[in-house]
């Protein structure tokens, strides 16, 4: 099996999680309620912790150690989708992003737990359980706020309209897509997107929100091959500000 293909798959998962975890942690101390403040922090910790698990797999495959990989690369070297790097904005956007992304991730882990690569299947199996609480959380809040006041419905709808083309960008195909599918490593992005869409639609149907229609041209691809919005580099610069004072030091 092509090692590059597996690495590419692991990098995009890990980078998604690290960047979204970082974004979600920005709510610490300033959340809309103390309870949500705490919930977003929990999810941020899970995401960053999960990314570490995947960077460790990569390290075992000969890549640099997790700290170096996470803190020393530039934006073009990151494989995350653009959705996760967008600024946290207001709670409406952060919630919609969490909803759209975590349902995709839950589908991804479910499928990866059947992977022919045992190490990947093992990690995915473990994380499948953790992500369940994230989708439950998203579910409750989307249903609540998507049915509450005019303002909450309007806010969620416009956040959804903005985020949806980026969310579809999660499923940007890898250059090694056929390789991965044929070798049973992974079911492939197209299949994943289908499963995701069904679940997302099912939740949205229980609210007063409408899933926007998006043309192929409008989908925000590029993240997987290192093309990012101009929000990613400032995030990375901030993240590595202290680390880079002395990358060889122990902090």
């Amino acid at each position: 099996m092509n090692q590059l293909a597996i690495k590419e798959l692991l990098y995009k998962i890990a980078d998604d999680q690290l960047i979204l975890g970082h974004r979600n942690s920005e709510w610490t101390g300033v959340g809309p309620t103390l309870e949500e403040d705490i919930a977003f922090s929990s999810m941020a910790q899970d995401k960053v912790g999960q990314s570490l698990a995947f960077y460790k797999l990569l390290h075992n495959m000969g890549e640099n150690d997790p700290d170096t990989v996470a803190f020393m690369r530039n934006a073009e070297q990151f494989h995350n989708c653009q959705l996760v790097e967008l600024p946290s904005g207001e709670y409406d956007f952060s919630l919609i992003r969490h909803f759209l992304f975590d349902f995709a991730e839950s589908a991804r882990f479910r499928r990866l737990s059947e992977s022919s690569v045992k190490d990947i299947a093992d990690v995915a199996n473990k994380l499948k359980g953790e992500i369940k609480y994230h989708t439950m959380h998203a579910n409750i809040w989307i249903k609540k706020l998507g049915n509450a006041t005019d303002e909450s419905i309007e806010r969620l709808q416009s956040a959804l309209n903005y985020a949806f083309p980026y969310a579809l960008g999660i499923f940007e195909k890898s250059p090694f897509e056929t390789d991965l599918i044929e070798n049973g490593v992974f079911v492939g992005e197209a299949q994943l997107q289908e499963e995701w869409l069904e679940e997302v639609q099912n939740v949205i149907n229980q609210t007063q929100l409408i899933l926007p229609t998006v043309t192929d041209e409008e989908i925000k691809y590029g993240g997987r091959i290192g093309k990012h919005t101009n929000h990613l580099q400032p995030l990375l610069t901030e993240m590595s500000e202290v680390f880079k004072i002395d990358p060889t030091a122990e902090w």
Binding site: T28, S41, Q45, K144, A148, S152, I245, D246
Partner: protein
């Protein structure tokens, strides 16, 4: 986190107790003397209720405002280990606020009202959070030494008389032990690290020493007397006792790391077994408490902004989900 010294102003004891039923008051005091806990539905003097609300509320505010100076370092924490630990640590502080607001609510003041008073500047929080965390090293010194100071206060208060507050503090203290360990490790790494790291941590300690000495409140000889609050087990130790305990536990640990404490007069008097030190500038303390510190405005502005940004969410969750009406025919 919580510092002493600003909790018990404006005691008007004679007037406050004249309306209380002497027999109920005597029973109440006897229960406390026996070491019993007072619970929310029990009879209590209005003054007891008032002082406890004030104290627990200030403590809760200190946790939520205390999340801010360290919180800004979460996105910059160097390496996975620190990033994850700091996220968990600051999350705990927000959790402490949640626990404490709930404890204060048992005395009749709603959380929304308390937060409103915080934002309007009507109620205080620990003075120390009005100082800035300039560098990563500041955040580590906060995690270690500010939390250490908070533990001294919180352990004392957890032996107090009000049940819900004591139980909240027991849980909080268990988590603080992890904060202390995290903070201590981070400071050890800096003070045994590269020249640059050592310089960073020494500079941070220099900046935080005066606020740390202020943290426990003015010297006992300057403070308003609080015998009745001591008898009621609301105030469990004096400012000087707490400060001495802190110095006793942490000065040797700081010196062990080769750091210099910026007070040439700091030493333990072997005869009295008390620490001697230069009195920190108590005028500065008063100025900062009254709103004129380096970060008072910024801290409250951040909190106010968070409340404003979250208002639509709180409004929406107060509204019950409307069930679609099914026609009967």
């Amino acid at each position: 986190m919580y510092g002493g010294g600003n909790s018990f102003e404006h005691l008007d004891l004679d007037r406050s107790l004249e309306n209380e039923d002497p027999q109920l008051l005597a029973e109440f005091e006897a229960r406390i003397a026996r070491g019993e806990k007072i619970e929310p539905s029990d009879w209590m003097p209005a003054l007891y209720r008032k002082q406890l609300i004030r104290m627990i509320e200030q403590h809760a505010h200190s946790e939520i405002i205390g999340a801010l100076p360290e919180g800004t370092w979460i996105t910059r924490a160097p390496g996975f280990k620190r990033k994850m630990a700091l996220m968990a640590k600051v999350q705990d502080e927000v959790g402490h606020a949640q626990l404490l607001y709930a404890a204060a609510e048992t005395l009749g003041k709603p959380r929304e009202k308390m937060i409103e008073d915080l934002i309007n500047g009507k109620s205080k929080y620990s003075n120390i959070f009005n100082y800035p965390a300039y560098t990563w090293a500041d955040s580590t010194v906060i995690s270690w030494l500010v939390d250490a100071g908070a533990i001294v206060n919180q352990l004392a208060n957890s032996k107090g008389s009000y049940g819900p507050y004591c139980r909240a503090l027991d849980r909080i203290c268990a988590e603080e032990a992890f904060h202390l360990k995290y903070g201590h490790h981070s400071v050890i790494h800096l003070s045994t690290g590269s020249a640059k790291q050592r310089e960073m941590v020494q500079a941070a300690l220099n900046r935080w020493w005066t606020p740390l000495m202020h943290f426990f409140g003015p010297p006992d000889k300057m403070s308003t007397h609080t015998e009745i609050l001591t008898r009621w087990k609301v105030k469990m130790s004096t400012n000087d006792e707490n400060r001495q305990q802190f110095l006793d536990m942490y000065v040797p640990k700081i010196w062990d790391l080769g750091l210099t404490i910026p007070d040439p007069n700091l030493k333990k008097n072997e005869t009295t077994e008390k620490w001697e030190y230069t009195e920190p500038d108590w005028e500065e303390f008063k100025r900062v408490i009254n709103g004129d510190g380096p970060c008072n405005k910024e801290r409250l502005a951040v909190r106010r902004r968070a409340e404003e940004r979250g208002a639509w969410v709180r409004k929406a969750i107060m509204k019950p989900v409307e069930k679609p009406v099914t026609p009967l025919a």
